[in-house]
Amino acid sequence: MTADLGFGMTLVALVLAVYGGAAAGVGARTGRAALVESAQHAALGVFVLITACFALLTYAFLTFDFSVRYVATNTNLGTPFYYRITGVWGALEGSIILWSWMLALYTMIVVLRHRSTARELYPWALATMLGILAFFLLVMTVAAPPFQRHTPVPADGRGLNPLLEDTGMITHPVALYLGFTGFTVPFAFAMAALATGRVGDAWLALTRRWAIVAWYFLSLGLLIGGWWSYHVLGWGGYWAWDPVENAAFMPWLTGTAFLHSVMIQERRRMLKLWNISLVILTFGLTLFGTFLTRSGVIASVHSFTQGAIGILFLSFLALVLLTALGLVAWRWEVLRSQGDLDSVVSRESAFLLNNVLLVAAAFTVFFGTVFPLLSEAVRGVKVSVGAPFFNQVNVPLFLSLIFLMGVGPLIAWRRASLDNLARNFLWPVVLGVVAAAAAFVLGVRSSLAALAFAAAAFVLATIALDFGRATRARLRAGESLLPAMGGLVRRHNRRYGGFVVHLGILIIALGVTGSQAWSVQTEMTLRPGETAELVGYRVRFDGLTAVEESNHFKVVGAFTVSNGRVLGVLRPAKKFYPQEQSPIAYVDYRLGLKEDIYLVLGDFARDGRQATVKLQVNRLVSWIWIGGAVLTLGALLAILPDRRATA
């Protein structure tokens, strides 16, 4: 019953989306406003229907409606209330609903915001968005249907993947998908720009803020994913260069490149072709990421043919890229920009360099991620490409990017004179050198870490210098300190929003550097009363207890942590789920600004007479999360309406 109702609604939504996309397209071509209006109604209908599907599936989860196959495979009678809600998007079928719902939501916002402000571009953008929605609805009907009857109705379901029983399950996918789907809007307007031939500034002005929103959510999704990995997966890290992570990181890199190169087009009317390409690339990478993570192709190059989803995504990706490239070729003449540069030493060059590095990093991650498939296909030999590879090849790129982060905002547009360079960079360079020396004196022996600190100090100094100078100018004009600073930030919110985002990235980079350079760990088997020691911390094993939870069985270890005085008792555990072969580690930790103490329970004797514990002291990791908060502030500041334009 529920399954049939849901499936029926999905089908109707699919038909509506196809009709709406076609109507908007024809309306845009022929200029018939009535058709575009009809497409808007269709978009509203699609939104309402997907919302209803989502609500229906949630209801099925809450009421344990095991007549729906997806409910039965992803929940059971023991699943707590909270995880029955997040369980809705706990697997492929449900995440496609969440994805489509967000896409429909973005489509509605585009309708409401741009219907009357962008008459030329809007109908094409609407057609593009509805077309993409139609694809996801197609996936929902043929390849990964969430609404499928399950007969006979089982008495109990299989249960949710235990790793997903965490609060991160609500924030992480939501943020990540808002980021992924958000890049559809810039892509839709880029297609509109190509279709109409208006590849100038209009589409960029419309989509710049959208791109920041999408970029921000993607960043947030990545960071929450890191936090989740850190406190749930129990391996003491936040980023493993897993294909799933790489899939989200690639569009982030090209999206970041786009946010920067946009400025050159706005300022200097150059790089039209490049900007359109970056948007196409970013959107293509979001689709590719979904293909990579959802088709099973990662496990083996041969496994993706087993499901329809891989073929569907690959075909759609090909369709999107061919259409986009076809349009680009068609508009080649207007896209070719008559670039002119005054000097090699200019902000334009700094931005071009930034783009080269970001896109090169994206391609590197891409190639590294697909290389195992290539190797299997060509040589028939399976290889792994993991963290050691990605760290080695990417760290130099990222260090250069951080350095450019200091150069870009301060170097002059067009032509940087020697005077301009000295005025802006003398002190930051000095500070960078001092920081490297200080790091060396303080015992940093890794040259990469020292370089990272030098680059960070350099960038920090450029930001402080710029802000200080601008504030002083306002003070001279007779304002007092705080209003001067506030006014500056508010009036140039885009510039200072960017600075604050840079600051956030810088803090994250420091956290990453610190945790890579200084984290230590040890592993010991202890009997009750025995103690493990690591860099001044003493961890005493107090004993094991067994706890029966609603849907699993848990063995909890108690460890008293002290460093001279008792800091507290940490309780890492192992959870045994009936549906899982091996137990799930549940870590316990004590977070600090300087270092985190992190405990993982390993093997133990059933009678509690001994337990193996992995003790880690992870340095500076908290700064990654703090950097995320700063980045949020900066992004908010950057998307505030521009005061200067209206003033």
Binding site: A240, V359, F371, V385, A585
Partner: protein, 158 residues
């Protein structure tokens, strides 16, 4: 499919390995945990998605760390311990492919990507600045479009 297969295969193999290692080696001299960690970071935990043996909290990884410790204690060099795992599991066990043969592709790709990008940008910058220089040679009366642009840029300020 293949992970399941590995998981099933890996357990008995490991039990065998542990017993062989334990039986063959004399009582161990203390091994530096840093060396164990160093070796373990380069090996892939066979039952995980992409975690190293050093990081993974799984029992399998913990047993593999045990083997590394035992073999190092028996006097093997880190490279030999790694080769030992490669012999048993294939190249797949290495988290970074060895830099030879076909694998060179993946190692050289980043260099090629950056180099191509830099050459491209250098060419474009050169061409665009040259056009500029040729333009400067022309008479210095500024055309209206340009002065309009200057006015606009001045208004925008920085």
């Amino acid at each position: 499919m293949s992970r399941e297969w590995l998981r099933r295969l890996a357990a008995p193999v490991l039990v065998l390995l542990v017993s062989v290692a334990a039986g063959a080696q004399p009582p161990a001299a203390p091994v530096s945990e840093d060396t164990v960690h160093e070796v373990a970071t380069q090996l892939r935990c066979v039952v995980c998605q992409s975690l190293s043996v050093a990081d993974s909290p799984s029992e399998m990884a913990s047993q593999m760390r045990g083997i590394i410790r035992a073999r190092l204690a028996a006097g093997e060099r880190p490279a030999e311990v790694i080769q030992y795992f490669v012999d048993r599991y294939g190249e797949w066990i290495l988290l970074a492919p060895r830099r030879r043969g076909f694998n060179l592709l993946v190692w050289l790709f980043p260099l090629v990507a950056v180099a191509t990008g830099l050459v491209l940008v250098a060419t474009i910058v050169r061409r665009w600045t040259r056009r500029r220089r040729d333009g400067v040679a022309a008479p210095v009366n500024v055309d209206p479009a340009m002065s309009e642009r200057i006015r606009r840029e001045m208004e925008r300020g920085t």
